[in-house]
């Protein structure tokens, strides 16, 4: 593999120092969204629809406004009209207009002097509804006669004759399916469903907004992306973006769910109406589950053909997803990635984005990929079982590699799928003996990663320490990774680098920490900005020595003459250069901005062993192995943490997590007691193997690692349950009642 110019020997990269934010977080000093308070602030509360679908006939806030301490009430009438496209969707979702579109949809908000008063006032706002028929299931929403959520919501892509709830249509593929399936010795077709799963971040949404009489304001907020927050909030409020400065707090998890807005424009609108007093808003868990996220639910049909020796000859998938009351279910990505792990000549995908009376979906870790993997990797498992083939050997036979034409079109560059399969096969977990009622599952997954708009600065301090300013909030340890990359570039200790997450007033536009891009893109920008500083410091040394800057090199934190011909001068350390910089040309800093296009995807392979209680249907995870390509692991412990976190969330999605709606269209389980995410005692230590196939598009070879890890667990666990019970269950979650019914031979 050609890696011209790519660094391969490291002093700091690959080490595992403590994260710089660790002490603050374990001592409670770190400030999260709800920790921000300012003198004189008000507290906001939201009135939410108890109905899945209802016309809003009247909103009467007379009683609430009569309460002492209530300072403002807002409804949709306080927002500008005339928005279009995504801006209208955002506004409509933050505050309902003519109709409440789901249980939990905001219809009004109030600001008062205490949180309790605000909640009491919210209860006194009287909303008159005309209840409408509702639908919450994707397949039901597509049928003739299903309630229409919104006429005219479909875009150009939807074929004539489809139900108005189908709002986007996708069709992609290549080859000749008939020919491909004719070459197969075995064809298997199955239908699958997955339920909506919430990102499940520990920290609920929280913000503090302030809008002055001059039309300018501040927003302190827990978010994955404060420039997105600024753009979306100002669009919804009809003001210019730079009138709001957004400062991100520490963040207690996001997983994609904090890349959009919910309560933030409400706090700004309440502040504006309350004469400029700051308004703090903190969601309850009930509000988080009813009105934010989750990802889409899916209904899928997958058909694949295979020869006796394990070659996939053709694949076809139809994917139907509902993402709530607005277009945006990630079925577009699904139709790209469903079969992307494999070299398949004849392949076709069809996708339907369907609206229902559920909350507007938000991105969730590899949006659209885990559902597709559940379907496709389950069918591959069935093919292997029927043909008596080893699941890893079969995947190796079909694995995409460098030069393979991806199922979505272009050829892959250097990728590490084969390496993950080989490492999984060689791992002791794959040959561990299994006992009664135990089974093993294998599955693979892929996420293509992202670059995105990125801006970063690096500044040299007077003592030679370094400050890095990036615009991507630190969710998974990225400040440690940035500090390691800066330390490596400068050749100075990790402890001499401080990384700050800057506000929207300090850097150019940054996309959020999403798409597994932060370590790749902000890391690349950090390295390039550091290189600019190094160039300036070499120039300062050259000027002092009276030689050309080209005759100076940077090594181990020092400027040095490049060789004997450059002259005999003792190295100048970064501290020495920095100590004199005020008199040698002024402050030294570097900056870099780009929408880098050198990102590269990450493949992963998971192996899981389960035991299923034949009397209760309860599934216990015995062993779990994650093997994934990181390109180059900057901080291996945090890379492993991303692998383990993705697996844990995927296990929850596979076994327990689901949105349960009643006949009335109301969410039945909007608390963590009933929406069951895995806790530490549910899981064994998740084993990890980091594969490193360097990405040529990053100076140190980095690939994003955050999202791939949630893609294989759904099918891996389902395949293991199949192995343990002899029953193929095509619906998630594999809750005990469903597994027990399957064991008992009942239809599930």
């Amino acid at each position: 593999m050609a890696l011209d110019g790519q660094k391969t020997a490291y002093k700091y990269i690959g080490t595992t120092p403590n994260r710089p934010d660790g002490l603050d977080k374990v001592t409670g000093r770190a400030r999260y969204g709800a920790d921000i308070s300012v003198p004189g602030m008000l507290h906001g509360a939201v009135v939410r629809s108890p109905h899945a679908h209802a016309k809003i006939v009247k909103i009467d806030a007379t009683k609430a406004l009569a309460m002492e301490g209530v300072k403002a009430v807002i409804t949709r009438a306080d927002f500008p009209e005339g928005l279009e496209g995504e801006d209208w969707d955002l506004q409509e979702n933050c505050m309902a207009g003519e109709k409440a579109l789901y249980d939990g949809h905001a219809v009004a908000a109030v600001a008062a002097t205490t949180p309790l008063l605000a909640r009491d006032a919210a209860k006194l706002i009287e909303v008159t509804y005309e209840i409408l028929p509702h639908v919450t299931d994707v397949d039901e929403a597509m049928k003739d006669g299903a309630p229409v959520i919104r006429e005219g919501a479909a875009d150009f892509s939807v074929p004539e004759g489809m139900h108005p709830n189908v709002v986007r249509y996708f069709d992609s593929g290549r080859g000749d399916l008939d020919k491909g399936f004719a070459e197969a010795d075995l064809i298997i077709e199955r239908s699958f469903t997955t339920e909506a799963a919430h990102q499940g971040y520990i920290e609920p949404h929280a913000c503090l907004g302030q809008m002055g009489a001059d039309g300018r304001g501040e927003l302190w907020v827990c978010t994955q992306g404060h420039w997105f927050m600024r753009r979306m909030s100002t669009a919804v409020l009809g003001i210019e973006t730079t009138n709001i400065r957004v400062t991100p707090s520490e963040i207690g998890g996001g997983f994609g769910g904090k890349t959009t807005i919910f309560i933030e424009p409400l706090s700004l609108a309440l502040s504006r109406k309350a004469g400029g007093k700051p308004v703090k808003m903190v969601m309850s868990r009930n509000e988080v589950l009813r009105a934010t996220g989750p990802t889409a639910s899916a209904s899928m049909d997958v058909k694949m053909g295979m020869t006796k020796d394990g070659r996939i000859t053709a694949a076809h998938g139809t994917f139907r997803m509902q993402g709530g009351a607005f277009a945006g279910a990630p079925v577009d990505v699904t139709t790209m990635l469903a079969f992307a792990n494999y070299d398949i000549e004849h392949v076709h995908h069809i996708g339907y984005d369907v609206i229902t009376n559920r909350p507007r979906q938000a991105a969730y870790r590899a949006p659209g990929a885990p559902m597709a993997a559940f379907a496709t990797e389950s069918v591959i498992d069935e093919l292997c079982r029927e043909l008596g083939l080893d699941p890893i050997d079969t995947r190796l036979k079909n694995a995409a590699k460098e030069g393979t034409r991806a199922t979505f079109g272009p050829k892959y560059g250097p990728i590490g799928f084969v390496e993950t399969l080989e490492a999984a096969k060689a791992h002791p977990n794959y040959s561990e003996p299994l006992g009664p009622n135990q089974g093993r599952g294998v599955a693979s997954g892929y996420w293509m990663n992202w670059g995105g708009e990125t801006s970063a600065s690096v500044a040299i301090s007077e003592d030679g320490s370094v400050t890095v300013s990036v615009g991507t909030p630190d969710i998974g340890g990225s400040r440690a990774s940035m500090a390691l990359m800066a330390a490596e570039a400068f050749g100075i200790p990790y402890e001499n680098v401080r990384v700050n997450i800057s506000d929207t007033g300090a850097l150019g536009v940054n996309e959020p920490t999403h798409g597994s891009r932060a370590t790749y893109a902000s890391g690349l920008a950090t390295i390039r900005a550091a290189e600019e500083c190094i160039g300036k410091m070499c120039k300062r040394a050259a000027d002092k020595w009276g030689i050309d800057a080209e005759a100076v090199v940077w090594e181990d934190g020092c400027a040095k003459p490049s060789g004997p011909n450059a002259g005999e001068f003792p190295p100048m350390t970064i501290a020495e250069i920095a100590g004199e910089m005020g008199g040698t040309g002024g402050p030294i800093s570097g900056h870099y901005e780009d929408s880098p296009a050198g990102f590269s995807g990450s493949f992963g392979t998971h192996v899981v062993d389960v035991e299923v209680d034949p009397d209760t249907g309860r599934t216990t995870i015995l062993r779990y192995l994650v093997v994934q390509d990181a390109g180059k692991a900057i901080h291996p412990a945090y890379v492993e943490g991303q692998f383990q976190g993705g697996a844990a969330q995927g296990i929850g999605w596979a076994l327990n997590e689901e949105y349960v709606y009643g006949e009335d269209g109301r969410l039945q389980n909007p608390v963590f007691l009933d929406y069951r995410v895995p806790v530490a005692s549910d899981l064994p230590m998740i084993d990890t193997v980091i594969v490193e196939v360097p990405n040529p598009g990053h100076p140190y070879g980095v690939r994003g690692v955050g999202e791939t890890g949630i893609t294989p667990p759904l099918p891996a666990v389902a395949n293991a349950v199949r192995d343990a019970t002899g029953k193929r269950i095509c619906k998630l979650p594999l809750r005990p009642s469903r597994v027990l019914a399957a064991i008992q031979g009942k239809e599930v």
């Binding site: 992609s172 949006p367 892959y412 992202w450 670059g451 995105g452 999403h514 598009g697």
Partner: protein
């Protein structure tokens, strides 16, 4: 001229073609040339697409260079969590 490949859902808007040849030195020029040749594709491009040039996905990069023999794929607009 560069070869530009369309996903199957777009082909009906481009006279049924899977591949079209478009002249241009940048991604932006290629996309503008595509819409000029097939105006029916404009809504799809406005909705947002990703572009892969010679295997590399180049988001938001209308100024990304394109060679005469480049292989270009239009892809769905990408996102992430």
């Amino acid at each position: 001229m560069a070869e530009l490949h369309l996903w199957s859902g777009l082909r009906a808007l481009a006279d049924g073609k899977e591949m079209v040849e478009i002249e241009g030195a940048t991604v932006g020029q290629i996309l503008d040339g595509l819409v000029a040749a097939y105006p029916g594709l404009e809504p799809a491009l406005k909705r947002g697409v990703s572009v892969a040039v010679d295997g590399q996905i180049v988001p938001n990069s209308r100024n990304h260079p394109v060679k005469p023999d480049s292989e270009i794929f239009l892809l769905q607009k990408l996102a992430g969590g």
